[in-house]
Every structure is written in C-alpha cells, then in structure tokens.
C-alpha cells in the first residue's frame, strides 16, 4: 500500500515529503475511522445490554428479582448517558459533569410525578476516565432521593448543585422529603456502591439531616483548569 502510494506521488511530480505527509494523513484518517467505529460498537453494545436487562426484568415473576434487574438497568443507564456525552465535546479526554447531570435529570424527571428536579450547575470538566464512577455515584444519590424521600405520593423538590472552587468540585444533592431518621439502619447495596466509588474518586460524602429532608454533599478533587 505505502510503496504504491509513494510511486504514485512521485509520478505526480510530488516530492517524497509530500508523499510521506499524504501517508501520515491517510494513517490518521484510518485511526479516526477506527475510533469512531469503536465508539459506535460500544454504544450499540450498551444498548444491547440495556435491552437484555429490561427484557429479563419483564419476564421475572419474583418482585425482588424484578427490582434488582431494574436497579441494575438504572445503573447501566447512567453509564450509557456518560457514553452519549463522549465524543460530543471537542476534547474527548475531558468530560463535562454538568452536562451529564442535565441529561440524567431529564431522564429521571418523569419517574416521580409531583417531585421536581431543580438544577444549578456550573460546568466542570473532569478526566473522562473518572466519568463513569462519578456518574454512578450521582445516580445512586439522586435515585435514592426520588425513591425514598417522598413516600406515598408526597411532593417536593430535589436540588442538584455543582460548584467548583480551585481544585475541588462540590456536588450537592438536597431533597425536602421525610429524612433518614426512620430509614432502615442497614446500609443497602446502593449506599455501599457510593462508599466504594467515593474511595476510588477520593471523594468525601457528607450527610446532613436537614429537617426537612436529606442533604448530601460530595466533594472531590479535580485538576486545575
């Protein structure tokens, strides 16, 4: 291939340098094409896994099995939202966590009629490698607020706020629901995921019983701009 092109370039009256830069250009295009193909495959496969989980959830008879599958589907969905956002920004190595939260909130907005999700988001770019972990963490906290804070048709407002100061980002998730006082003391699977992920992200998770509701603040380091 390469040899052929070089002869061709030479017979076009171009210098060897032109031929080389043409080859480099070609190689780069091929690389970009492969990357796009890979991106496409990943997105398609995420869609497949998501559909499989929903299919099995619908087939399940036991409520516990159904619930577990649906929760896993929600988690996968959070990762899928991350992937939807990748390659949309100019720098594929960076990821805007505010854009992610907007997309996720739009997704969850219809889930609980009577509960609004209010957003106050400063754009914060983080390393793409951390995106899935932070997305999963935010997903658990936001879904917990929607699921547990407003039993029996209670109404209210969940506020998600992202701010950045220096090398730290703060994500606040605040509901005005029933609070954690009567929660079963046992930590569920969701909160143990929050624990694990916060270790990975070097994040601090602070809980406050705010009467009314629960305020959670996640603080984590991000690289300076």
């Amino acid at each position: 291939m390469t040899g052929q092109k070089q002869t061709q370039a030479a017979s076009d009256g171009q210098s060897p340098e032109d031929g080389r830069s043409h080859d480099l250009q070609k190689a780069l295009e091929q690389r970009t094409g492969l990357l796009h193909e890979l991106d496409h495959r990943v997105k398609n496969n995420l869609q497949l896994i998501s559909s499989l989980m929903l299919l099995q959830a619908r087939h399940a008879h036991e409520p516990a099995v159904k619930t577990a599958l649906e929760a896993m589907h929600e988690r996968l969905n959070a990762i899928a939202v991350v992937h939807r956002g990748l390659f949309m920004t100019e720098d594929p190595g960076r990821f805007d966590i505010a854009a992610f939260v907007r997309d996720l909130a739009a997704e969850l907005a219809g889930a609980r009629p009577g509960v609004r999700i209010m957003l106050d988001l400063e754009p914060v770019a983080m390393r793409t490698g951390h995106a899935a972990a932070l997305a999963l963490l935010i997903n658990e906290l936001l879904i917990n607020a929607l699921r547990h804070a407003y039993p029996e048709g209670r109404q209210g407002e969940v506020r998600v706020k992202i701010t950045r100061s220096g090398s730290e980002m703060r994500i606040g998730i605040a509901d005005d629901g029933v609070g954690m006082a009567n929660a079963n003391q046992e930590q569920g699977f969701g909160l143990s995921i929050v624990d694990l992920l916060s270790r990975q992200l070097q994040a601090r998770v602070a809980w406050e019983d705010a009467h009314p509701g629960v305020h959670v603040a996640v603080t984590l380091p991000v690289e300076a701009e």
Partner: protein, 152 residues
C-alpha cells in the same frame, strides 16, 4: 396518544433484541408496530405494503450502512416519516435524508416514549407544543415545519 388512530410504526433495525425492545416500547406508548425489517430492501418492501406513519431506522443494517438510502426512499415514495435511531451520527447527511430527526444510541426507554409522543402530537396538530424532548434532535426542515423554535 390517540387511541382511535394509533401511530403506525415500522421498525428497521438489524439487532433483533433491540427491535424487540422497540416494538414493546411502541406498543406500550399506544402506537402500533406494523412490521420489522433487518435489511434495506426488506424495509422498503414493508414500507410499500404497510404504509407506516413513522419508520424507526438504524443507519447500519444487515446489508451494510444502507439505512440512509432506505430512509430517503421511504420518505419520498412510501409516505413515511423517518426517525433515525443510531449510534452512527457521523454517517448522517446534513439534511438527515429527509428524516424528521434522530435519536442517539444508547437511548433510554423514556426517551423513546417521549419522542414517539412528541412526533405523534406534531403529526396530529401539524405543529409542536414546546421543545422536543430530551434526546430527540429534529432536522432543520421538520423543526421549521412543526414550528419548533430553537432554544438559545
């Protein structure tokens, strides 16, 4: 969705599991699936026979990246409105081959339901009420037709 005239929907997707899931979503949002095609010739034949209101079309089909041409054909000769559902945004031409819009994979079931609802309403009323739902990107032509004003 209108119970008397449910939106008739053709699904063009080579992954059978995804097609199955879409069919379920179409049904449970009050629309009516009228068929499923995995290749572009199949899609065009089915579109001619069933005259769907809406065709959900993936770009990559069992016979290659033929979804775009199939979409154009179905739009121009089969009276269908096409909505692309694809992870292949880059393969779409600027005019979206005459399609009304595109949804990106990975989509969520919520997004599909809301998009179906929005499009059904636009087709019924001839214009949109408010902005398209999260995840639905309208083509310029259909944004004009349905009088959707681009949010700042």
């Amino acid at each position: 969705m209108n119970a008397e005239h449910p939106l008739r929907v053709l699904i063009v997707e080579d992954e059978v599991l995804l097609a199955n899931e879409l069919e379920y979503l179409v049904e449970t949002s009050g629309a009516k699936p009228v068929g499923h095609a995995m290749t572009s010739p199949e899609a065009i034949t089915l579109a001619r026979e069933t005259r769907p209101d809406l065709a959900l079309v993936d770009v990559h089909l069992a016979d290659g990246p033929t979804g775009v041409d199939a979409a154009r054909e179905m739009t121009e000769h089969c009276g269908a409105i096409v909505l692309f559902i694809t992870a292949n945004l880059r393969r779409l031409p600027d005019d979206l081959a005459g399609a009304c819009g595109v949804m990106c994979k990975p989509y969520s079931e919520n997004q599909i339901r809301q998009a179906l609802d929005f499009i059904a309403r636009c087709m019924r009323e001839g214009r949109a009420e408010g902005q398209p739902p999260n995840g639905l990107i309208l083509s310029d032509a259909f944004a004009r037709l349905w009088r959707v004003h681009h949010a700042a």
